[in-house]
């Protein structure tokens, strides 16, 4: 009886500890966002009065309206949207094709291809900025959204390919074999069996690449000069002027910029739910 209650209480302690650890992590991760929200809602003149109080004496939405109506925010937003959606689309397309090939076929040069892809991930971005700048201006693409899309796509493909490969690896080969015996060509087996089962993987890749492109700053700064071509992260720096930083507006813009990522993840999250392949094998 005693041993039973000991294991029982041990289990309670363990589950409490787990909950506590998770709670700490969540607070830690969400705190910056809370602070963002708090400052965005604080009227400018009160910003430096209250010090680090948890909540301002009065709140206002004036920063939000100013940002949307009187700054280039909507332009940045639109540019970011174009760049991120295109990048996510192209990367997922290429990475799916490459990931499938890596997962299913043995071919000459496969190991070299994998090695080169890994290699590209090893250089610090700073080292690559100058050459990329030269290439982009050489092609006459300087100060265009196209240049960003190309560069982001190139940089995201390797990781996305490995990601997709692991999703394809998770789909039993027997399924394609069965489909081919049932009368499919390899391509039909891919489209009718493998593709539907890889949707979660594609959704994850889309989400990952979208977010990466959405928040990229370095290349956005280097390759874009004019305000009407700026994406959101570099646009944010416009709120820093010679005379000071407009914190309230900057934070409000930041909050608004979070919305698409959140919407995107809500939209794809039903595909992210695992277990789509369960039942394929005897298990």
């Amino acid at each position: 009886m005693t041993t039973l209650s000991i294991t029982h209480s041990k289990r309670i302690v363990a589950s409490l500890a787990r909950t506590l650890a998770l709670a700490c992590y969540v607070v830690f991760a969400l705190f910056p966002i809370y602070w963002l929200g708090k400052i965005a809602l604080t009227p400018s003149k009160e910003l430096f009065k209250n010090g680090t109080a948890w909540w301002p004496d009065s709140t206002t939405f004036e920063h939000f309206t100013t940002v949307v109506l009187h700054t280039d925010f909507l332009v940045f937003f639109q540019n970011s949207m174009i760049v991120s959606v295109s990048t996510a689309f192209f990367v997922t397309l290429f990475a799916s094709a490459a990931g499938y090939a890596f997962s299913r076929f043995q071919f000459r040069g496969k190991n070299i291809a994998i090695f080169v892809m890994l290699l590209t991930q090893m250089f610090p971005l700073l080292m690559l900025i100058a050459p990329i700048y030269r290439i982009v201006s050489g092609l006459g693409l300087h100060n265009s959204l196209t240049s960003l899309i190309i560069v982001y796509t190139a940089f995201n493909i390797p990781f996305a390919t490995f990601l997709m490969q692991s999703f394809f690896d998770g789909i039993p080969r027997d399924l394609e074999d069965a489909a081919m015996i049932d009368g499919c060509t390899r391509f039909q087996a891919l489209r009718r069996i493998v593709f539907p089962l890889t949707l979660p993987g594609m959704a994850a890749t889309l989400g990952f690449v979208f977010t990466a492109a959405w928040s990229e700053l370095l290349f956005a700064l280097m390759l874009i000069d004019s305000n009407e071509k700026m994406t959101f992260p570099s646009g944010l720096l416009n709120f820093v002027s010679k005379f000071g930083v407009d914190w309230g507006q900057m934070m409000a813009a930041g909050i608004l910029a979070l919305i698409p990522s959140c919407l995107f993840f809500i939209f794809i999250q039903r595909y992210l739910v695992q277990g789509l392949t369960s039942g394929a094998v005897k298990g």
Binding site: D182, L197, A280
Partner: protein, 356 residues
């Protein structure tokens, strides 16, 4: 319906030789069972027939057509996978009807064929479920259903029953036997299960390390194994194999007596002697060919297996009818049925006696 034949078939993966020198003719409507130790190439052979792997050398023909370069879908076969390989995103009906859907059968025909197969397999109540909501046995039946909705030229089975519990396995074995009778189709069946092999097969193909060791009816293989490997592989529990040395009067046994297997003559020089548990009898010590102590007895109800420790040999298994009551430690006398003794030469081949 079709006959299938292999001539000099071989398969390599890079430098690894997985199958070599496979020659076999399978009659139309024959039930062939492939057996052999793990890794000997049984699944590979099935996949070659199905067209899922390309062959390295030789020829496969189905009907009278050489299919070496034919795509799987043009070979018109059905295969039931070890893993079942059900499409997880399709319900049972669609899983079963998928091959018809791909072949553009019209919907009414598809539905009626699926309904017919579902009735045969008792799956009518599950047609709109996803595979993940089925038990292992039900999944297995869906996999069967997928194979029988159309009339393929042959069926390929890769250990289809290996993950089912004993009762289900016996039930499904019976179903497969009935199916074979009803359809009369050529079937090639891989299994590790002795009973499945012996009961289902018209002929059994014993494979070893990428080669065919022996082909024959179950009784052939049981009574006339051509090699030590087949002798040990067929039969459960397997044949007792002991070292043999010969003298002028026959093969010497522990304890000083000798035994003359049927067809014995002086210059056969066997190095091993084999005898099945069911061909030994326990007799009084005085009349025995050799003696030993009982170590363990296993009671199966219908039979009793007695493990006997004979000096100089690995434990010998003796099969006794019914429930024999032998205490471990008892001294037992063993007597051989000399017509059922097998002699093996150094190269692992069975030695045929002079008069057999």
């Amino acid at each position: 319906m079709a006959e299938i034949s292999f001539s000099n078939l071989s398969k390599n993966y890079g430098s690894i030789e997985v199958l070599r020198n496979i020659n076999l003719y399978i009659k139309d409507g024959e039930f062939i069972v492939l057996v052999g130790p793990s890794g000997c190439g049984k699944s590979t052979l099935l996949r070659l027939i199905a067209g899922l792997e390309t062959i390295t050398g030789g020829e496969i023909s189905i009907g009278s057509q050489i299919v070496n370069d034919l795509e799987p879908r043009d070979r018109d076969l059905s295969m039931i996978f070890q893993s079942y390989a059900l499409y997880p995103h399709m319900d049972v009906a669609r899983n079963m009807g998928f091959s018809l859907e791909i072949r553009k059968e019209n919907k009414d025909k598809r539905q009626s064929l699926v309904a017919k197969a579902a009735k045969t397999l008792g799956l009518e109540d599950y047609l709109d479920r996803l595979p993940k909501a089925l038990s292992g046995g039900q999944r297995q039946r869906v996999a069967m259903g997928r194979a029988i909705v159309r009339k393929p030229r042959a069926f390929l089975f890769d250990e289809p029953l290996s993950n089912l519990d004993a009762a289900l396995r016996i039930g499904m074995r019976f179903e497969i036997a009935k199916l074979h009778q009803k359809l009369g189709a050529t079937m090639i069946y891989v299994t590790h299960d002795q009973v499945e092999a012996m009961t289902l097969a018209d002929r059994i193909v014993v494979m070893n390390a990428g080669e065919i060791e022996q082909v024959g009816t179950p009784i052939d293989l049981y009574e006339q194994p051509q090699t030590l490997f087949v002798a040990k592989f067929i039969g459960s529990p397997s044949m007792n194999i002991v070292p043999a040395s010969q003298s002028d009067d026959g093969i010497e046994l522990p304890g000083g007596k000798t035994v003359k297997p049927g067809g014995w003559s002086k210059n056969l020089n066997p190095v091993q002697l084999g005898f099945r548990p069911e061909h030994l009898s326990l007799v009084e010590i005085g009349k025995a060919d050799c003696t030993g102590k009982a170590i363990v007895t296993e009671h199966l109800g219908s039979d009793t297996f007695v493990y006997v420790d004979v000096k100089g040999w690995d434990p010998v298994i003796v099969r006794q009818r019914g429930n024999s009551n032998i205490q471990s430690g008892t001294e037992l006398g063993i007597s051989f049925d000399t017509s059922r003794l097998y002699m093996f030469a150094k190269d692992g081949k069975t030695i045929r006696g002079t008069d057999t």
